[in-house]
């Protein structure tokens, strides 16, 4: 079962990287405004938090980029195989 942990590590990194990429592309200002109102965080602290979160997302995206691309290739190949019914190209 040890391959499970290898798959988990690769898949987790790939998925984290994909989510991080998606979040970085999103316009999150409205979301942060809600936090300011709802959680009573001081503005200064919110700016630090925003910067920290962005930094984390960038790190996560970069760390799992290779795995993400590999997984995307594998998924594309799998989709092709399914669509072509297993016939060679």
């Amino acid at each position: 079962m040890s391959y499970r942990f290898v798959i988990k590590r690769i898949a987790s990194r790939a998925l984290s990287s994909a989510v991080a990429q998606g979040l970085l592309k999103l316009d999150t200002d409205a979301l942060w405004d809600r936090f300011v109102r709802g959680e009573k965080l001081p503005l200064e602290q919110l700016e630090t938090l925003k910067a920290d979160v962005e930094e984390t997302l960038r790190t996560v995206e970069a760390r799992g980029r290779q795995e993400r691309e590999m997984m995307m290739e594998a998924l594309k190949e799998l989709a092709n195989q399914i669509l072509r019914g297993g016939r060679p190209r």
Partner: protein, 562 residues
Amino acid sequence: MNPVYGLFRFPSSYRKFRRFRQIVGVLAKHGFADMAKRTGLRRAWLGMKLIVSLGKWKGQDPLSTGERLRMVCEELGPTFVKFGQLLASRADLLPQDVTTELALLQDRVAPFPYEEVRQTIEDRFGVQVADIFKEFDETPIAAASIAQVHRATLHDGTVVAVKVRRPNIENLVLRDLEVLHSLAVYIDGQMPELSHLHSAELVDEFARNVTQEMDFRGEVRNMERFSANFENDPDIRIPAVVHQFSSVDVITMDFIDGVKVTNAAEIASLPISPEQIARVGTRVLLKSVFEDRFFHADPHPGNFLVTRDGQVCLLDFGMMGHVEESRMEEMLSFMVALVSSDSEMLVHTILQAGLAPEELNERSFRRDLELMMAQFSTCTLEDLNIEQLLRLATDVIFRHRIRLPADLLMVGRAITTMEGIAHDIYPAFVPLQAVQPYLMSLFLKRALDPTQHTGLVIDALLDWGTFLRNLPNELPPILKRLGKGEFKVVLTEKPHPTALRESNRRTNRLVAGIMGVSGSSLSIYCLEHCTVLPGWVSATFLAGSVSLSLWVVASLLRRDGL
């Protein structure tokens, strides 16, 4: 099994038995006679101690249970003082008045003679004290139950603090731990009213902590790990270890020339304000708990010094707390829910993290927590403190018999101790003002970090994959059996120890009753008709049988009535 008998299994059984007898005697002396009696010593041949001790108990002592329990720990020595300190943190298991009282236990004992210090150092390093140290102060700077600290100077002129373990302390603590374990097993099995304590688990946890604390190599590793976590923090100082002269029972480290945080007069002359000290202390604790997951579990004022150049120095790394990564989310959610008065989140987290009893009334628990939180809904941060919030929450948790993970309570205790110190140093400091935004930020940061969630998603997908892969092999035999009508469901019920004991007692009484009656009948028959046996034998047998029957009747009347 009765712990008294269990003690005879070990080679040092007599010493342990004497200690056990002493413990029971002290318990009885301080009004825990019922507990002492139920350990079985009442019937043991050395039970005289208990009778003597019971004589000292007046029965109308004005002292509370907590006070008496504290006195028991103090009288029984260092192991029990430390165990009492651990119990003080278990507000989920013990009533508030008991934990408050146990928190007063002080780990202070008389120092041991310099001759023994010298012997320990020389035995350990195989050289004379004078070969290692240019100067060695024979009077200790501090003495506690496990070790004492001396000031010394190395030959290169470095001033050091030398922590030396008490000779033979390991054997004494291990003996007490074995006795404590026997008592705990007995309490778990034979005292249903205390079964929620899971005493054996508590003693095991304590044994792990205290044995770690006695091995100074562990403390050295703790110091270095903690130091590495704060190496870039200019406000923090951790003494450096002199490895060459440190081992399992001696630690040689930098001597920190500092001022105790409680010494307000001298603190005023240092280049750091009391407010800064309070802020640094809180920051260190929060970072170590929630970011490094490795924290000082005993941050009492004696373990904080402020150096002449304004750094905050932490001492004594014997007892450290570790937070497992898997617990981190629960821990953070618990604290965030508490400091932001979110009762729904608090209920959810407690039920997820705690070990709720089967009979828990979730609705009533929810209502109690909501009522508790409602008290604070209109309060400002200045009016609140973490200690108060935690106390009220654990009070509700205790009432509903929910057991919380030990590390969560350890964190709670560390935070409240730190809060108390910060408040003493700088009364205007509002710890919640520092703690709440920190926790909120960290919580949001983790919530928005994809790596915190993807592992769970992948795990779930892999589990489903395994399940679907195995299904074709595992399902057909079940369906086949169902089809043939051979499918069986076996339900087993484990008998409750108390019910089992009561059932055994009833069986014994029944057997004794039958033996008494049949013995009496046989004796009367022999007295009248038997010529082989002398009359006095039958008469003695008759007396014995009648006594047995009377004992059964008395036992029935005493316990159940007729």
